[in-house]
Amino acid sequence: MTQLLELYSLFENCLARLNTGEDLETILAQYPQHAAELRPLLTAALKARKPGGLLRIPASAQIDSRTRFLAEAHRRQSRPKSFFPRLSFAGALLSSLVLLFAGIFGTGFASADTIPGETLYPVKRVVEQAQLALTTNQGSRLNLEEEFDRRRVAEAEELEQKGLTESVKVAGRLEVLSDETWTVAGLKLNLTPEQVAIARTLTGSYIEVIGQIRGEDGIEVESLELRLFTFSGTLEAIQDNEWTVSGVKVLVMEFTQITGEPQVGKRVDLTTLHYDEDYFLALTVRVTGGSSSNEPKETNKSGKNSDKPVITDSVNDQLEATKVPTKTPEPKESESTREPEETKRPDSDGDNKVTETPKPTETRQPTETPD
């Protein structure tokens, strides 16, 4: 290796001397033992040297280029700056939120107590979605989702008391009373025989029900399924089957589908069930990348799953064992996914970088090189 390095250095010396105008043969005569090796390369170097000294730069070209350069700089600078430079999704959301909140304060949180069917009710839901989107802490985000679930139940209770008919979506524990009355979070459900069969497998689970509430008659159920919570975060601890992901306690069971190699410090995407007050039960865990100290990435707003977890029979059995029976849930389209902001180009080599070589465009070699 040192010999090779010497050869490379020797070659560099020869090149430098060629550049000063020394004759090729004179130079080679000093290194007779390397002459045969160096001659073809140095002849190539002589050919590669641009003939006729330094190229004269056409003045018009330089002036044209300078004019374009300055004009473009001026154009960019005079472009009105947007209120939020490089407006991101969160930025856009924030600005709309500010406006929203301004409006809401003005009407004394008029929307907060609304129930489905009232004019301001959609405002309430939009504010909630925005709140969710802006909460980056995974633990508080999940709490918020549950809080919103409780609000839906409270709204349904109010509709029930007022004897109104409205479309509702409520989530809570599915229970069956001794008189075969099915309830979710205390709300009465009207189930078809087929739905009862499904409900039996879901008893005790935290589920989501979509249907029409008809006053005191309860909810005429259109669908019932497990309520899934998806989120992503940094894996902070693994203790037996109890993992901590960005402060959230997650149970990882045998049936949990794990993709990638989970290690403390890595980022993971999870699809979970609400197990009890303190724990979420992981159905799928996907390791998405290396260690990251960044804030958790935004997950999809609705907290709904976008990957359909495959729940096999054995999973069902085990869920049974953990008293969280299940059925395969319908996947929901995630409402928003967000592209990561600009990614930094990784350096292509680990060499001692003196300067950063820019890569404004991806380049490929025009042809393969037999080297």
Binding site: E12, L42, K47, A48, K50, D64, S65, N352, T355, R364
Partner: protein, 202 residues
């Protein structure tokens, strides 16, 4: 294996290849260029332009494309200047690297379009020129064509070193490599060039 010249943290720009008047503060120039000060931008442009132009002209035999690419390099420099000042560790290395990529893009597009047969250089004789000049032009075209079969880095190192006789250290700085790495690279590049030239003779 460290570079033979000092490194400077943050914003820095090496005034190596061109003469600077003593009162010219190159750091200050880049700071002002970052703020899009027109005078600073004009100075920066005029200092870097000749090197970029020579580099591109070395690699392509098409005066119009050469002007376009050189100009494009500077428009792109605005993007970098506009961002954080410290991304311009060396504006010169940046513009030369960008020139390299744009030249590679140019050739890629040309191959894709197959507009022109690379071995067809009738346009060389468009303008009557002295016998000797035509011959050296032919030789250089031969080198250019042969270079296209080299790797990206090999082409870049040859163009940097031979378009304007940059020193080994300057070349290393522009490529973001160590001096020793450049020694190895240029040796291999010229060996590869030699092979390509020989192949063409057969």
């Amino acid at each position: 294996m460290t570079a033979d010249f000092p490194r400077h943290p943050g914003l820095y720009f090496y005034p190596m290849g061109f003469p600077l008047t003593p009162d010219m503060d190159i750091d200050g120039l880049l700071v002002r260029a970052h703020q899009f000060d027109p005078q600073a931008l004009a100075q920066l442009h005029d200092q870097l332009y000749p090197q970029v132009y020579r580099y591109v002209a070395y690699r392509l035999d098409d005066p119009q494309a050469c002007e376009d690419i050189s100009s494009e390099v500077f428009l792109r420099l605005l993007d970098v200047l506009k961002k954080k000042a410290q991304t311009v560790l060396s504006a010169r290395a940046w513009v030369m690297g960008t020139a390299n990529h744009l030249v590679m893009d140019y050739y890629r597009k040309k191959y894709r379009r197959k507009v022109e047969n690379l071995d067809n250089h009738n346009h060389l004789s468009d303008h009557p020129s002295p016998e000797g000049e035509t011959e050296s032009k032919m030789i250089h075209q031969e080198v250019r064509d042969a270079m296209l079969n080299l790797t990206d880095d090999q082409q870049h190192v040859i163009a940097l070193r031979f378009s304007q006789e940059l020193s080994l250290e300057e070349t290393a700085q522009m490529m973001g490599k160590t001096v020793n790495a450049v020694k190895v690279l240029q040796y291999r590049a010229l060996a590869a060039l030699r092979r390509q030239l020989d192949r063409r003779l057969k």
